[in-house]
């Protein structure tokens, strides 16, 4: 009899805990109080905005924060709080953050790990060792991670790789060599596209490698412009890739050093083998939003040595690009736009603001760039995802 009572009692507990995990408001991370920064923020379509702070190089201080929409609280270092026994926490230099099938994928460049987290409560499900990982993309069965693959600045020219990770086993089940220092990556149709920067080379690379998903081999290489970085694929199969541009240091008559851009940090559209430049769009960070727009922030005056941070909205289906100078808006307070994310439902714009001497900030602006809230983040808040 006692045995049955125990069984019934255990099942009751199981049912309650299962109920808890289903209900977001009582998710295990609801115990993390955080700081209330967003009074009046409505829950809306999303429950959390995740923020990955890159941390400083080899300082092991990358952290994962989130803003909880239900109560407007900003929780710092949620990963550390939910996974206290994980030695050395998230690790060093977080470089990408992505959501896929209810799981949060955190790409740790310095530590050489790709962490898989339960997006509901940030608990660690798996850590996959990937050398020098940079950016991540998914199809239905795999994750694809671009990698520098051991290259060092000033060393031998070393080709980068794309690693393929099975979503069933969380193990690497394929790798393919691409160009040097590959960065942004995206899946479209039967191909994986990756932007080669050649950032460690004396002359930067200027190509996008196209990998066939079935054979997992590079099938073609498309020339774009030099020093490519971000890469996204829209729903029509068009590839959008940004360049970090080219610069040179020179000295003026008074002996002051100036960094002159010789090529802009531009945005390029790759449709098949046709490359076109989105003239006068400058990109220091960008995101492709589900509302069918690319949002980017860049310095519109970079070619003249001036300073004019501008928000660009590029409709991927065609139409005119809108550009708004941040200086004329509440977003003038953003010191160093380091990451951007846009809420497709209400148009809110989230900007990661890096401070190179201390912790950064996360800003939330309405689509008209009126301040909604801001929060103190970790070191170099760069990557954001809505859940």
């Amino acid at each position: 009899m006692n045995k049955y009572a125990l069984l019934v009692f255990s099942m009751a507990i199981l049912a309650v805990s299962a109920g808890c995990t289903k209900d977001e408001t009582t998710s295990r991370d609801s115990g993390l109080a955080g700081v209330n920064v967003a009074v009046g923020e409505k829950k809306g379509a999303f429950s959390k905005l995740f923020v990955l702070n890159e941390g400083n190089y080899q300082k092991n201080n990358s952290t994962l924060d989130f803003l909880r929409f239900s109560d407007g609280n900003y929780v710092s270092d949620a990963f550390g709080s939910m996974n206290p026994a994980v030695v050395q926490g998230l690790g060093d230099t977080g470089n990408d953050l992505a959501l896929n099938d209810g799981k949060l994928w955190v790409v740790m460049n310095g530590s050489g790990y790709v962490h898989v987290l339960d997006a509901r409560d940030e608990t660690l499900l798996s850590s996959i060792a990937v050398p020098d990982p940079r950016y991540i993309a998914f199809d239905g069965s795999h994750a694809y991670v671009s990698s520098y693959a051991g290259a060092i600045y000033g060393g031998d020219e070393t080709k980068g790789k794309v690693y393929r990770i099975s979503l069933d086993t969380y193990k690497i089940d394929g790798e393919v060599e691409v160009g040097c220092q590959p960065e942004g990556i995206a899946v479209s149709g039967n191909s994986v596209y990756v932007a080669n920067s050649g950032g460690y080379n004396y002359v930067h690379e200027n190509t996008v490698s196209v990998i066939d998903r079935t054979t997992f081999k590079v099938t073609s290489t498309v020339e774009v412009v030099s020093n490519l970085h971000f890469l996204v694929a829209d729903s029509k199969g068009t590839i959008w890739v940004s360049s970090y541009g080219e610069s040179a240091w020179t000295q003026d008559a008074d002996g002051n050093w100036i960094q002159n851009m010789s090529e802009p940090m531009g945005l390029y559209k790759v449709a098949g083998s046709t490359v076109s430049s989105m003239n006068n769009v400058h990109v220091s960070c960008m995101t492709l939003c589900d509302d069918g727009n690319i949002y980017a922030i860049g310095n519109a005056a970079e070619m003249d040595g001036g300073f004019n941070n501008t928000l660009y909205k590029v409709p991927v289906g065609g139409g005119s690009v809108t550009a708004v100078a941040l200086s004329a808006t509440d977003a003038a307070k953003v010191g160093n736009p380091y990451g951007i994310c846009v809420n497709p439902k209400n148009g809110d714009i989230y900007i990661g603001d890096a401070d190179y001497t201390g912790p950064g900030k996360v800003w939330c602006f309405t689509k008209d760039l009126k301040t909604k809230w801001s929060a103190v983040a970790g070191m170099l808040p760069a990557h954001m995802v809505l859940y």
Binding site: N60, A85, G150, G154, G155, D156, Y202, G255, Y356
Partner: protein, 642 residues
């Protein structure tokens, strides 16, 4: 006039208007490295990356290590490349004293450069002493200790006819450098629960092998002139363990290596001319070669990126001194040329011509000494730009005022005001891979008021206290933070720092028939606030790595050739950024070190044995974030001299 000369002969710090903090050769015998001695000084924060081969630099009164000049026999140890002087590269044998001047040293016939740095650390050699009838001294010794460290050394001292003395020193050190450390983090949750991890790791790739040879010739003592010549060579190869961070797989955190070759030849000549004038000439040639190899850890067997840096420096100084009524006038002119050659991509091969001109006056009357000094630094850089040599100028006027009033033999008050500029280093300016090329010199203004009081002075007991309160303002501060490794830095002008500080120390000695016992306590308060950006989170925060409170306590006793020494160091909480949030806090730490030594007199010489036990409490701590320091470790030494 002979006073001036005698002062210079005895040591480069004797006869100074301000009394420095000083560690004598007696105290130096209880430590195994220079940094262990220097960290005892009040107002000093030692930056130590840990281990046998870890870089060790000093930061005095929150101004940064580049503001502290290190002088060997009154001539500065330069490094135009990064202005970091690694205290691990100097030996203790042959040193007479180590002195720290916070503010302005003013002594007769000093060079112009001696007026230029905000603080100055003086390493003064002791001239060889020969027993009556002896012309040669031989000293052989070796140190053995933790981390597989062995350091044999040999010294030969010889007196030539006429009294010229030679000292030849050779020391070798080798060590695997490995030690275990803890990585831990515990979190307290609102419900009171505690969770976290504590794991042990081993520091690897931290071996060191080095050799140091020195030759020093010193003239016989004469009332009219004296000279010395000093040649120094240091060569080493070491692994750079790098910071500790999470890393996947079996790959090492770092396989990077560094080899060094440092050499200098310096000389000093001091002479009395006529009845009124005395003259000092100094010259130095130095060369250093550093090769840094960055190994691709993820590609075992891959070839490293190698970087070579060659620093060349030549220095010439003339100083003249004369007494005019109650004023001593000191005129000094120094010239130096530095050149850096490096095989970096797009390197600009910077050269720097510097001229320091100084007019200094010391006024003496009764119990009052005052000094006014004016230094003009003219600096011209030339470097490659777009294929041509281009130039930059940075000049600075550095005035200082020093007053000392001694109303009684037991009480003295002193004060100084000083403005000094720290020029950007070649690394700050001309690195092509990292760093800003638009840096201004750092501007340091120091104001200080202090008092010294000898409370008890009987034949048996001595109790003295010293207090200094200071206000420092640092503008355009260049902050260097190690990025990928200890050798590569990222630079930024942090802006303004406002320092309010206090250095307090007390020294007690009691002597008895067979020996003596004593205690030295030192406490440092430094409220060093970041005043760079009123809108930033860093506004008014304590600047990185400077504790509000720190101090040391040294207890010692000696009896019939035995000496025991116990030293406690305590450093309060620090932050790695001026945004003083809990996530960026470094825990306070306390270490306890002990040393025991015994001197045995033999018929023909002496034997000295010492054992030093460091970090007796096995404290797990970090001075630099992610560079764990070793736990308990020891070093033993034996020296035989005849």
């Amino acid at each position: 006039m002979t006073d001036t000369l005698r002062a210079s002969v005895v040591s480069s710090t004797a006869g100074s208007l301000l009394v420095p903090q000083r560690i004598t050769s007696r105290e130096l015998k209880t430590v195994t490295g220079l940094s262990e001695a220097v960290r005892r000084f009040a107002g000093v924060q030692l930056r130590d990356y840990g281990g046998v081969g870890g870089l060790r630099t000093v930061n005095v009164r929150s101004l940064g290590s580049e503001h502290t000049g290190v002088f060997v026999d009154g001539i500065q140890v330069d490094n135009a490349q990064n202005m970091q002087v690694d205290l691990g590269r100097f030996g203790l044998e042959g040193l007479g004293s180590v002195s720290l001047f916070s503010g302005q040293k003013v002594s007769p016939l000093q060079s112009a450069k001696e007026y230029s740095s905000a603080s100055a650390l003086y390493l003064d050699s002791a001239d060889p002493v020969f027993r009556p009838g002896k012309k040669n001294n031989f000293i052989f010794g070796t140190g053995v200790g933790s981390f597989g460290t062995i350091s044999p050394r040999a010294i030969w001292e010889h007196e030539f006819k006429g009294g010229t003395a030679l000292r030849l020193t050779g020391e070798e050190v080798s060590s695997h450098g490995r030690y275990r450390f803890h990585v831990k983090d515990y979190r307290q949750y609102p419900d009171g629960s505690l969770a976290g991890y504590d794991t042990t790791m081993t520091r690897a790739n931290c071996d060191l092998s080095g050799i140091r040879t020195e030759a020093r010739l010193s003239s016989p003592r004469s009332s009219d002139s004296f000279w010395n010549i000093h040649a120094y060579f240091y060569g080493s190869g070491r692994g750079l363990p790098g910071p500790v961070y999470k890393k996947a797989g079996e790959y090492p955190l770092s396989s990077d290596r560094q080899t060094d070759r440092d050499a200098f030849l310096q000389g000093r000549y001091v002479r009395k001319i006529g009845e009124d004038w005395s003259l000092a000439l100094r010259a130095k040639l130095s060369f250093s070669h550093l090769e840094y190899s960055d190994f691709p850890e993820l590609v075992p067997g891959g070839s490293p990126a190698r970087y070579n840096y060659r620093n060349h420096s030549s220095y010439l100084s003339a100083a003249a001194s004369r007494l005019v009524w109650k004023f001593r006038i000191n005129l000094a002119q120094d010239l130096q040329y530095d050149y850096l050659d490096a095989d970096l991509r797009d390197f600009v091969y910077p050269g720097r011509l510097s001229s320091w001109s100084c007019l200094s006056t010391v006024f003496q009357t009764g119990s009052l000494d005052a000094s006014a000094n004016l230094l003009y630094l003219l600096e011209r850089d030339s470097f490659l730009s777009m294929g041509d040599r281009s130039s930059a100028k940075r000049d600075a006027l550095m005035p200082s005022l020093v007053v000392r009033w001694k109303p009684s033999g037991r009480l003295a008050f002193n004060g100084f005001a000083k403005r000094s500029f720290r020029m950007p280093t070649f690394n700050d300016l001309y690195y092509t891979t990292v760093g800003s090329k638009t840096l201004d010199p750092e501007d340091a203004v120091q104001l200080d008021l202090g008092a010294e009081w000898t409370a008890v002075e009987t034949g048996r007991n001595h109790l003295a206290m010293k207090a200094d309160f200071y206000r420092n303002l640092l503008r355009n501060k260049i902050i260097a933070v190690p990025t990928s490794n200890q050798f590569r830095w990222s630079m930024y002008n942090l802006g303004k720092v406002s320092v309010i500080g206090g250095d307090l120390s007390a020294e007690f000695v009691t002597r008895f028939q067979e020996g003596e016992a004593g205690a030295v306590a030192r406490y440092t308060l430094q409220s060093s606030r970041d005043r760079s950006d009123r809108e930033a989170l860093t506004w008014n925060g304590q600047i990185p790595y400077i504790p509000l409170h720190s101090g040391s306590l040294n207890l010692y006793g000696s009896v019939s050739g035995w000496r025991a020494d116990l030293t406690l160091f305590a450093t309060g909480e620090r932050f790695t950024t001026s945004a003083n949030l809990p996530a960026y806090r470094l825990a306070p730490w306390t270490t306890l070190d002990a040393a025991v030594s015994k001197d045995i007199s033999l018929k023909e010489g002496g034997l000295s044995i010492k054992a030093r036990l460091n970090n007796l409490l096995n404290e797990r701590y970090e001075i630099v974030d992610n560079y764990p320091m070793p736990g308990f470790n020891f070093m033993c030494g034996i020296t035989y001299s005849f």
